[in-house]
Symmetry: D3
């Protein structure tokens, strides 16, 4: 397996294909135009400057274009920067594709789908089961490829499905320990809780927020969609309302985007399971980057804390 850009050190030479994630034009102090490129592969991303660009360059070196680039990793104001010696757009003949440059979940899509299907199969309440099955089917393709977030946690291909499947594991353990829990409601909440992100986020490669994501947000979008599907399937009864409540309240507090706090036991549990899986994912990733005896970088989504990796841990 080749070395990803996230693993280069200052001074290393680079000569490989890489994907343009973002490209923006500036004008230098000498009055000449240049491009700032964010380049990425599955291991990470790096900034580069392409100086004295022509109009043609600006048309070619755009987001989602793969390029063949040779250069050197330098340091600029404390951050790595890729100094470009030569660059060209990749063509069909190069045999590379966008998906080669994007991180993927450590579990295959097929396995994730199987686990989702299995959980739905276990459900006994037919109202909840039919709603979940219909929504999973409707959104299956996006559900299996979208990330769970634009950054922070599970921000890779199939990240959303991976997050859901991890949470289903936790839900199963919790149900074993606290049998009073309504497993069907909890499973339904876990599977659907972030499905509104398929509308909130723009896509897999250059994940940003859509207009409806910015103005309404994934939580009310999903509440509305559950209402719609229930009408379509002619399902009535408190299950629909309870499920809408689980989605609505899964961020736990009004300040965190849930207009109602959890008021049903399974809603509280959904919130806690979501929190636990997201935090473990972020911590594992950050700790993997440092050696025993070191602290991680500050983690914004964990209250800006910097975590310690004990020195008696095996690396």
């Amino acid at each position: 397996m080749k070395k990803g850009i996230g693993n280069y050190s200052i001074g290393d030479a680079f000569d490989d294909f890489i994907l343009i994630k973002m490209s923006s034009r500036g004008v230098a102090s000498n009055g000449k135009p240049f491009l700032t490129l964010i380049l990425r592969d599955a291991s990470g991303e790096i900034e580069a400057k392409l100086w004295d660009t022509t109009k043609e360059d600006e048309d070619v070196f755009v987001a989602e274009q793969i390029v063949r680039l040779s250069g050197e990793v330098n340091q600029f104001r404390g951050k790595p920067q890729l100094k470009i010696f030569s660059i060209r757009a990749a063509g069909e003949a190069d045999g590379v594709q966008v998906s080669d440059f994007i991180a993927k979940a450590p579990v295959e899509k097929e396995v994730l789908l199987e686990k989702l299907t299995e959980a739905i199969f276990e459900m006994e309440n037919s109202s909840l089961q039919r709603i979940v099955r219909a929504l999973v089917k409707k959104h299956q393709e996006k559900l299996l490829t979208y990330p769970a977030a634009s950054k922070n946690h599970h921000d890779y291909v199939s990240g959303l499905a991976h997050h859901i499947v991890s949470m289903l594991e936790l839900a199963r353990s919790m149900h074993a320990l606290y049998p009073e829990i309504n497993k069907d409601m909890l499973y339904a909440g876990v599977i659907l809780h972030d499905l509104g992100k398929l509308k909130e986020l723009s896509g897999v490669v250059t994940t940003s927020y859509t207009l409806e994501g910015k103005l309404v947000g994934h939580i009310p979008l999903m509440v509305e969609e559950i209402g719609d599907i229930a009408k379509e399937l002619q399902i009535e009864g408190e299950e629909v309302l309870a499920l809408q409540h689980l989605i609505l309240s899964h961020h736990g507090k009004a300040e965190w985007g849930s207009p109602k706090p959890p008021l049903i036991r399974e809603a509280e549990l959904l919130h806690l399971i979501d929190l636990a899986d997201a935090r473990m994912h972020m911590l594992n990733r950050a700790l993997a980057k440092v050696n025993p005896g070191e602290f991680t970088e500050r983690l914004f989504a964990l209250d800006n804390r910097s975590f310690y990796k004990p020195s008696f841990e095996q690396n």
Copy 2:
């Protein structure tokens, strides 16, 4: 016009019809059952105790029953209490009805409807106009009778419509002063902003929260309903999204129940107009009860402040 219960003083005799708003059973320290009654007419409400009650009493003296009662207004732990000398259920022959005992908006339903219709007629954007017209038509009956809240402000028959019509006045003035405002969007937001309360609140006489009110709340309920009506009317375009955003954000902050803060100019204005009308209503009502030179009771919804009525004001 007869004197309402809200205007009786300690020591006054009472002999009139009055409505039971709430009735609950207790057991006295002597072991005998009694009823605690909350009695109301259009001017206010008062507590009363009916001692040594029989099983029959408990069946007769229930919420929404009108009674003929004679007694005296006493004081108990600092609050007025109606001491009952005699009480009987009112019958058909008495010629009284529930609506006689409930406060109404100071403007007639017909006038309110006319003003609403006029505002809708003024709208030029046909998408917004059609959505508003369809929802007003669909909910017309409840919209013209429901209160705007279970307490605090506009908590009387037709309170919601009265609140909307006042806000339309403010919206019109604001538009005159700031012509950049999109009047259609603002009008649509004003008319629909609290329509979700028709699902959130249980009714006109004994207004409480419904289950969907408690678990989902009027804001997401209305966002969903706007989505539904747009699909039904086959209206597409950013107007639907913008309108959903206005509803979603009209409480102004996440902590106050709006998962998104206002991000459109008219959303910000809708929030300010709603605040201003609700506060003026509460202040006017509280100040009407005190004399110049006095402070009002503490107003919970106004940060628990007690307001002063200057002594140079005419009463």
Copy 3:
């Protein structure tokens, strides 16, 4: 099984043994002394007034005394109160003992001890294992009988051990899902996290805060004790420090009593597991008291929320 005081309704007659949890003297408006008694059995507690008491009564009817009492459950200011018809102190001949009147964990002490022992046995890091084993052995008796808190959750005999064993289950599931976790550190944290409560709380029957509990609190007390035992066992190395950090940070935030927030992955997880087990316990208990379709009482430790039990749940 006999009916506990927590299951009596207003109007029910009571004639049984019951334990005095607290007794305090007052003087009535007629100038005569009386006793306010808090009476409890394993199902709950109730207040009672003993009027016109003698000096002798005050000496006999004290905390931890069992009494034979006949009376009737009345209501006073909205809360149940036991009206006393007759009362006498229980003697040896009555064959009742204090432990009969106190709620116990649903799992036997022996089973709890076995599970604790098993978890300690699984540990591979000998420093952590030796510290945990020494502290469990030192405090074994209290550890197996103390509640986890004076109210809120696991507030019954063996509540602390029950809480620990539930958390160990969660820790085991988490470790299976996230194998990067250092299981030994997490187990050690789970077992010791609340052991400082054995110093903070006064005892099992009339659980209150000790002076060192009030002035220092269970968290710093336990940090100190881990330091002491490590010195005694001559254990050095970062394990001691890491374990002290887990205890110190398990409340998650400075405002909640942890001077350091979790800065080690297992510390974050310990906090989340503690939260989840405590909340599930409180929710299960509150929901068990209401019928489907009803809301629970407000739960102070859950941000004063009142939870809904869906009507499609089996009771």
Copy 4:
């Protein structure tokens, strides 16, 4: 009308008169002195560097000096910067004056004064009227030229008077809708609420905070001045106190600089009207700079929100 500096794009040549708003000396890495100039005209401002400056340059190119400058608009660290080709101080012969380079209210001073006078004329309470008239007269010149703030809103010549006159419009509409309002008190509060800024801010061209502005602030300064003028005019009675309260509380909350929250109805309304006018002004300005379908820059004074301009709006 000539093109203002706020409308230049990167790469545009500039050759015109412009005003120095601020000038500060630095030393470059080559050890030579340079000047950083902030240049402004009525449309906006831009930074420029004047390299290798002499002592004479430093004496000439100072704040409030108009210069003739030719250069080019470049980009430096993401912000526009004016590259200077040649620069000279303007003289009398150039026929330019400072006021040509400063933004003005969209309404003429004379009109603003007329509207103010009209409102004062409408007042019926002679105590309030005399105080307002005396203070307006005393400060008339500054009142008609000062901005309402050093940035954020109404930060242009006559901005304060423009803000007051807009608020008077809102006050008039509010009074029409809620006739219980004491119009005289509200008008007096509107006219005087920010007059303390004439002492708090240093002037019209280079608006900064005075020492008394920093140490005492415009609110207590104005409370003191109302007390002074009342003594001077020998006006007694609650009107003075009420007016001082309106000024004192118009920021609404202690955290926002009002030691007392509004405790008089008109004080609450004054706060709401001030908020509404300031926010509409900021929103209109920010939205005017973007196209339909775009978001504005973040607006610090509006909780750092970025607002959306719907795509169905006419530009």
Copy 5:
């Protein structure tokens, strides 16, 4: 010295003169009027009910009337209440006066005045000295008798002067330790910081808030008064502004009523000295009421804490 009402226990007989602090009329459940009296002497206060009162009683038993009362201290809802056996208004012949029933500072007025005068004499900056001297002279009588607050701390006759003199002691020590401090400014701030309370509070016997206290508050009132006296004395210069700032900021934070936080060293110190003296006073008083080994009642002004008196302290 006779035993004060604050030192009576439940069951004690009372037969002495006592002062009515407050009297309010109620109507009992039997329909008869009664008076609730708050009675006080220098040691504390107690509530009493006077049943079945006549119109005459209501005219006689009013605030600031001394009465001769015999009765017994009972307990009512957990608080002491004085049961009245007989009561009569005191007359001239009884030789008692209001001041006999009010707590006084432990230092005589004359001594306090001397210390104030001495501090003023020490001041070297003539502007500050003249302002302080003029204000102390103007308000001397009230300044020497008023309490520093209506409750909490130094709430007795001459409490304000006592508080000032204690703070002057602290200021002197601080100046000795940190000679950089401007002693004159600090002394001036200490002496004047709470002088606005002479306008904010109604008086010595029945201390309540005046209307200007409620609407403007002692801080802005004093800022205004310093401005007035400086104009009167024709004192100009930064001293006046600095002194106004010290008064304005002495509560330390906007939320605590200071629109500007301390921005001058002596302002910060004034805030800290004020805090220290007020807290020590409250703590000493609360601790004096409990025995070693006990906790005090909760102290609202100290964040509702309950303080411990160590058992190794001498009583």
Copy 6:
């Protein structure tokens, strides 16, 4: 006395010995390595860049190395930077040592020790006295050289001892004013309150946080140490607990790192004295750097305030 680096202006030549406080390697945009050096002497610190460094340079120019350097003070992005003309490592022959370059307390170590000893001698409670004496003896060397903090206040050699001795002065004054205070407890708290910093901070020259400082913090570390020494000295009794409480609570609030707020009078006072001394120290230092009529830089630890030095102050 020679001119310290903190007193150089832009453009000044530098030719002297100076200490490297920190050294870190970077790679320039030309691909060549360079060192960023933080250089300090007792008067302050400055950044410098050493370009085109060799591997040998990196080994020589490290933290705690003294160098002979000639260069010039330039300005880079608004901050002073030392441009290096020549640099060499100092050797024995140069007769300079690390301590020459570090700021020291304005009072000699011997004097500080004498004052500490004197205070301990004054103590009458033998338990408290023995604990304090033992801990001071044990840590004497570090106690007399460590700073009180890594920045903010008393951040120089002997800073901790200097801070303690100042606080003892304040404690003595407070005790004279409020004789109810238990002087022994207060003295013990003052002397020991920050002794945990000897474990929390890494040393005198390059002060950073140790691992136990980061994971446990000086407060719990000191609580543990007091427990240890008491066991060692076989001291029992409430004094130990009270002293642990004083240490634990001296930051005043949970959010500031004290899991218990002060619950003993002397704990409250300790907190106030600590606050006062730290703040006066920071203020004096910041004000010494500016002229009368100027504001200081923003002081982060004083809520980011910028303080004013009145123009009527002597410099």
